[in-house]
């Protein structure tokens, strides 16, 4: 059986701790991470603890909403350059300023090994790559009379079958092999065999399997 975790108590403790910190004015909500609460809720949620979790989730959302409000207040005050000016005017201690700047320093990542000449060379190469726009070219229509690669048969297929039927009609009834007796060319035999199949399908001729006879 799968064991389900119920972290309600732990989550509620976390929420309570944050609330106490805010009430005692020790910390701003903007300095606190609410993500761990939501992660815990998400990772351990199941049908067994959903009832307890719904209350915790509601409280966590309230904290998040308060955090948004604080952020809104901060953003509206951030443009107030006058406040910063007044702060400097109040002659703060240098150590206080140092504390303020403490974790705001950046360490730039610089590569000096690449030469500006090489960069210019690369730039030239990119400039030389002509990215020409796609041209849509219409096909030329050529009107050619007379010659055409595909040979169009002189007679239609049905016409050919019917001509063949007229030809063999006089022989019928006869044995199946007798129909092809006069054909020497293999391609002709194959062509006539196909005609026979079609004639059988059309019901123009009939075939008796036992005697191998073709008849009308």
């Amino acid at each position: 059986m799968i064991e389900f975790q119920d972290l309600t108590e732990e989550i509620n403790k976390l929420i309570e701790k944050i609330r106490k910190q805010i009430i005692s004015n020790n910390v701003s909500l903007l300095d606190l991470e609410l993500l761990p609460i939501f992660e815990k809720l998400e990772q351990s949620l199941s049908i067994y603890n959903i009832k307890n979790y719904s209350e915790s989730y509601k409280e966590a959302c309230e904290l998040l909403s308060q955090k948004f409000e604080e952020l809104k207040d901060l953003l509206s005050s951030i443009n107030n350059e006058k406040k910063f000016y007044e702060y400097i005017k109040s002659n703060p201690d240098d150590n206080e300023i140092s504390q303020l700047l403490k974790d705001c320093w950046n360490d730039s990542f610089i590569i000096n090994s690449i030469s500006s000449n090489f960069l210019d060379y690369i730039k030239e190469r990119f400039l030389n790559i002509q990215k020409s726009p796609i041209k849509i070219e219409h096909l030329e229509k050529s009107i050619k009379h007379g010659e055409f690669l595909l040979e169009i048969p002189k007679h239609g297929f049905t016409e050919k079958i019917m001509n063949y039927f007229e030809l063999i009609k006089k022989k019928l009834p006869c044995q199946f092999y007798e129909i092809f007796e006069e054909d020497i060319d293999q391609i002709k035999i194959f062509e006539h065999f196909v005609f026979i199949l079609h004639l059988l399908q059309l019901g123009k001729i009939k075939y008796q399997k036992e005697t191998e006879m073709l008849y009308i």
Binding site: L74, K83, D94, L101, C104, W105, S108, F109
Partner: protein
Amino acid sequence: MNEISILMHLLSRRKNLYQIGATKKEVLSYLNIKGRNKSIFFLDLITNLSKYIEPLGIKIKFNPLDSHWFISFDSSISDLILANPFEGEPKLAGTLLCILICCLQHSGSTTIQEVKKLRKKKGILGDLKELGKRGYIFLENDKIQLTPLIGYQLDIHKLFTKLALKLKE
């Protein structure tokens, strides 16, 4: 070399004493990116490079003082004491912050007189000369102007957020 490697070099080069990296215009010119979608293409390149280099502990930043994009070590892995150019010199850092806020108040420049009046500390002229020598400010008669250098070394946005929070207390 492809676009990403060129971008990497462009953003990590030192141009002069005060500038690192490249502007958007320079990047577009080097990579020969034109057309009405060039801004989207640029942001796409920046986002992609950022994803590539993130596991190495470096990230792309923007200097609002001279609109340059540059690469910086992630603050969570870099030694902040070493990154602080004014370590052990809090007075110099204080004077620079005073100039920064004065410049913000007066659209980019201030005067020696004003800094002297605000700082109320001895040896301000010496601080100004030192800051000028290190490339943080331009001094011209009474006028003081910030160079873009501090925008690379200091996360100005973070500083102002911290200051706003502090003043809210």
